[in-house]
């Protein structure tokens, strides 16, 4: 079977606009993501995680190498690859329901079908009753739920998530992680999820990809052989297998932080 996403010898170099230095963010990064797989990408800050995700999204062109989705090279953004950004990227002048339906609106889906999709995803994401609210009336966690629902509703082949839960409080983050886990199980979407949080990476990933820092490349791929159904925060914190996995990934990331001699 061919990979859903194939990253081949990816390299990216850019000029830092402030220091005017050339930065090699990624170098020779090769990675396959299987259809329906949930791959988490973890690494210290400055390892090029977000660069990788933006290249996959088609928002920046790589300087070397290629990215294939379903065997076709990525040349720009497209609705086959939905993105959930780290910052709040839902439109503040649209209500919850109009934000969620935005992708479908762009695709030209008729109003009746859009309304049905909104109902479904509002339910799935736990926002029933908030359809008419504007983003500023919602908490940070709820806003990210809307962003996830908007991406899901557009029904992309692949979901790319860039530290989507980094700016919500710890309690909400756990809830969102459990919800995303349930969504992944229900939709069987191919998901590439970037994070600097090792616990999050192990909790969510079918495999966990540890990136080496500067230039970013694959340091290790750690399979997490724990069924989705068993992935609840309660079990996660009590199961020794989970604990061992987390320690292993954490050790790999720590090597990069210490070995890199940077800010971590």
């Amino acid at each position: 079977m061919t990979a859903k996403i194939a990253v081949q010898g990816l390299g990216h170099e850019y000029v830092n606009p402030f220091t005017r230095e050339r930065v090699l963010a990624l170098d020779g990064l090769t990675l396959d993501v299987a259809d329906g797989e949930f791959l988490t990408v973890v690494g210290p800050s400055g390892c090029g995680k977000t660069t990788l995700l933006n290249i996959l999204a088609g928002l920046i062109p790589p300087t070397r190498g290629a990215v294939l989705v379903d065997g076709r090279p990525v040349t720009g953004p497209g609705r086959d690859r939905g993105v959930v950004f780290q910052e709040f990227a839902i439109l503040p002048w649209r209500t919850v329901e109009r934000n969620i339906a935005h992708g479908l609106e762009i695709q030209g889906v008729p109003k009746v079908e859009r309304a049905a999709a909104v109902r479904r995803f509002v339910e799935l994401i736990g926002l029933a009753g908030f359809e008419k609210k504007y983003p500023h009336e919602l908490s940070g966690g709820m806003r990210q739920r809307v962003a996830v629902a908007r991406t899901l509703a557009a029904n992309p082949e692949v979901m790319l998530m860039d530290e989507p839960f980094a700016s919500v409080d710890a309690q909400t983050r756990i809830t969102l992680q459990e919800e995303l886990n349930a969504i992944a199980q229900a939709t069987r979407k191919t998901i590439l999820f970037v994070t600097h949080n090792v616990e999050e990476a192990v909790f969510l990933g079918d495999r966990c990809c540890v990136l080496a820092r500067r230039p970013g490349r694959v340091k290790a791929l750690v399979p997490v052989d724990i069924p989705r159904a068993r992935r609840t925060w309660k079990l996660f914190t009590s199961d020794p297998a989970f604990g061992a996995m987390k320690d292993r990934v954490l050790r790999l990331v720590r090597e990069e932080v210490e070995g890199g001699g940077g800010d971590g």
């Binding site: 999204a57 953004p77 609705r79 002048w93 695709q107």
Partner: protein, 209 residues
């Protein structure tokens, strides 16, 4: 009392106090009347202008010129600003130029405008439309540039074509700034209009003296 009525009442009180202070100063200060006419004289002159039908005509004249400038600002200034704001490089190029022209009021150009267009309607219209147009263009451009790029990227990843990004992100995102531009443009434009009418002496509020 509702907050709105409260504001109206305090506004009337302040106005009455100011007129009273003016009247008191005119009555007690040892100045000739042409130096500081009392409120009663001004009121009489106002009554006279209204009775002769001059003031209503002049007000209508001025409002017509203002309305024309406002429409031009909306129809030309807003689209021009939006268009120039779409590309960062184009915006960077025009920014200092637009900032210069929006800072130099039409009043400052009046001596030159009089030489170019003479003592007539054309000078007034050029001065007013110029004064309205530049803040409108400038702020529409700023509005587009201030839309967070993440909104544009979010729409691109949803598969939105260019026109869709303009309609759904750039225009609504620039709207508050466009409103500011219109407000400033009309405020500056009104002053330029009165000044131009005073100098040119054509019909209009500025010449009603």
């Amino acid at each position: 009392m509702t907050p709105h009525r409260e504001a109206v009442v305090s506004w009337v009180v302040v106005l009455a106090a100011a007129v009273a202070a003016w009247g008191l100063a005119a009555a007690t200060l040892p100045l000739p009347e042409y130096y500081l006419p009392p409120p009663t004289a001004v009121l009489a002159a106002l009554g006279d202008l209204v009775a002769k039908g001059i003031l209503p005509t002049y007000v209508a004249e001025s409002l017509r010129r203002m309305l024309l400038a406002a429409l031009l600002g909306l129809a030309v200034g807003v689209p021009a600003g939006l268009l120039l704001g779409m590309s960062r490089r184009v915006a960077d190029f025009f920014y200092p130029l637009l900032n210069f022209f929006q800072s130099v009021s039409g009043i400052a150009w009046l001596p030159l405008l009089l030489v170019w267009f003479g003592f007539g309607e054309r000078t007034i219209l050029v001065a007013v439309n110029y004064t309205v147009l530049f803040p409108v263009i400038f702020n529409a451009l700023l509005g587009v540039r201030s839309v967070p790029p993440i909104y544009v990227n979010a729409l691109r990843t949803l598969g939105a074509p260019r026109w869709r990004i303009v309609r759904d992100v750039l225009v609504p995102g620039a709207l508050p700034s466009i409103a500011t531009g219109m407000r400033l443009g009309l405020a500056y434009g009104w002053r330029a209009l009165i000044a131009a009418e005073m100098l040119v002496g054509a019909h209009g509020l500025g010449s009603a003296s």
